[in-house]
């Protein structure tokens, strides 16, 4: 459960509810009928799993649905038939995490983001390249001092 900071006394209650994958469409339809609207869809890569969080907002309150998908079966149904704006989030999830979303109303088929490597967020390895702080023994590169 997320921790609430007492310094933010007027933060509304954020509810987090874990549901099985099969109940997704039914619960989302329930949110829609009660007048909630979609805020964001977030995916977190965990070892062996992909954790999806769907956030909904009504009257400044945030309600979250959480589901866990095993890494060897990255498949979920689209909610873009209920919330039409969801197609952007789901295309992004497909392009970054290799999550197969079935039933998208607008499907970019992998061409939403143009990245050099496919599904760049799909691994738990940190990105390669220049380290944050180089070791002191690294010799500086470049041309020697000019006059």
């Amino acid at each position: 459960m997320p921790r609430r900071n007492p310094d933010f006394p007027m933060s509304p209650e954020h509810t987090f509810e874990t549901i099985p994958v099969e109940m997704l469409l039914e619960r989302v339809r329930g949110f829609h009928q009660q007048g909630w609207r979609l805020v964001q869809i977030c995916a977190t890569r965990l070892p062996e799993q992909l954790e999806l969080t769907y956030s909904f907002d009504r009257d400044n309150r945030l309600g979250n649905l959480r589901l866990v998908i095993p890494a060897n079966a990255l498949q979920v149904s689209s909610i873009s038939s209920i919330f039409s704006c969801a197609f952007l989030y789901e295309n992004e999830l497909h392009d970054l995490f290799n999550l197969h979303v079935s039933g998208l109303t607008v499907d970019f088929e992998g061409h939403f983001y143009k990245t050099a490597i496919k599904f760049p967020f799909g691994t738990t390895k940190p990105p390669a390249g220049r380290p944050g702080a180089p070791a002191a023994s690294v010799a500086p590169q470049g041309i020697s001092a000019k006059t």
Binding site: P2, M10, S11, Q40, S55, K114
Partner: protein, 358 residues
């Protein structure tokens, strides 16, 4: 009727940042618009796995050049919530003042771009001339014009002395007079009204269902402003969301014009109640847990979802920027519009593509 496809962007004189739209036209009417984004996707959410969470503030600020301070502020608030680190009240007020100055400069930038989009270049130059005064205030107090570098985990890095605060309030009087001059032109000029009134009408239900945020939502009649949640010093200040009911581009322009005056008023309120004290508290330890932080950027609501596991790197940082939420509205507004209205409609949500693509 045969259709023509016209590519709009990524390079276009009216666009501040690259976005591509394939416009399908029948004669001069747009039938469908297909977006193509990803030109400035930098994968900054993945960078959080490599950078120390203290150093990531500098990356968070550089997600966007226009709304940079509030990105840094929201990130710091998220980390402080995860570490349950207290922030001194003076730092909260300073953050609020800088946040509202950031909103001033962002709205003035947008007003200039909108004037440029309809062809009114001299008004564009006047708006940016007033913006220079705001940027001078920001540079004097934080050291940078657009990337402030002022926020850190636990507080802020620089203080504003009482004399500097008095000088800011003095400068704001002149700025307010200038803003009154240019907003009178924006809201009263016949040629601007002809270009903006009735263009891109977004009904109240459509704005709510499509997930719009910020001035785009408030111009359609829904009074939602994340500053009412009471973060930073907003729990002590009075924020009344600025709304209009028409939902067209003129209403969105009018909402932003009025928010300029609201920001100046908020800065004055915050300056009059500024508490004395420290500007930062030492934050020790590592963040642990999960939290969702929502703040109001000039373009709308930004949502930061942080997940930490007790190490120096966060496990996941998810940023939902306001332009990402407003993009479906643009796609809907473009259906059925005239080709000449496309620049106005793309700019009317205040697109910040570098924010959207992180």
């Amino acid at each position: 009727m045969p259709r023509t496809i016209i590519p709009f962007g990524p390079q276009h004189p009216v666009l501040p940042e690259p976005v591509h739209l394939d416009l399908q036209l029948e004669d001069e009417r747009v039938v469908e618009a297909r977006p193509s984004v990803g030109f400035v996707h930098r994968g900054l959410e993945k960078l959080v796995e490599k950078k120390d969470f203290i150093d990531f503030v500098y990356v968070a600020e550089r997600i966007c050049g226009i709304c940079s301070f509030i990105h840094g502020q929201t990130y710091c608030q998220g980390i402080e919530a995860l570490m349950s680190a207290p922030v001194p009240p003076r730092a909260l007020y300073l953050r609020t003042i800088w946040g509202e100055l950031s909103r001033l400069h962002s709205h003035l930038l947008w007003l200039g771009l909108m004037a440029d989009a309809v062809g009114f270049e001299s008004l564009f130059m006047h708006s940016w001339r007033v913006r220079e005064k705001v940027l001078n205030i920001i540079e004097t107090t934080t050291g940078g014009r657009v990337i402030f570098g002022a926020c850190k985990v636990g507080g802020v890095r620089r203080d504003i002395s009482d004399e500097a605060l008095a000088k800011i309030l003095n400068d704001l009087e002149i700025i307010e007079r200038d803003i009154r001059d240019i907003t009178a032109v924006f809201l009263g000029n016949r040629s601007i009204k002809a270009r903006l009134c009735g263009v891109g009408v977004l009904s109240r239900e459509a704005a709510y269902d499509l997930g719009c945020v910020g001035p785009t939502l408030r111009a359609s009649g829904i009074a939602q402003d994340m500053r009412q949640l009471g973060y930073a010093a907003f729990k002590d200040l009075e924020v009344r969301p600025v709304t209009r009911t028409d939902g067209d581009s003129f209403a969105r322009c009018a909402v932003r014009c009025e928010e300029l005056f609201q920001s100046i008023d908020l800065i004055r309120q915050a300056a009059s109640r500024m508490p004395a004290g420290e500007i930062a508290a030492k934050a020790t330890g590592n963040p642990n847990g999960e939290c969702v932080m929502r703040t109001e950027q000039p373009r709308g609501e930004v949502v930061y979802q942080l997940k930490a596991n007790g190490t120096r790197n966060l496990q996941r940082l998810r940023i939902r920027t306001p332009t990402f939420a407003n993009l479906p509205a643009v796609i809907k507004l473009l259906q059925g519009c005239e080709l000449a209205d496309v620049p106005v409609l793309v700019l009317t949500i205040d697109p910040c593509i570098s924010c959207m693509e992180r």
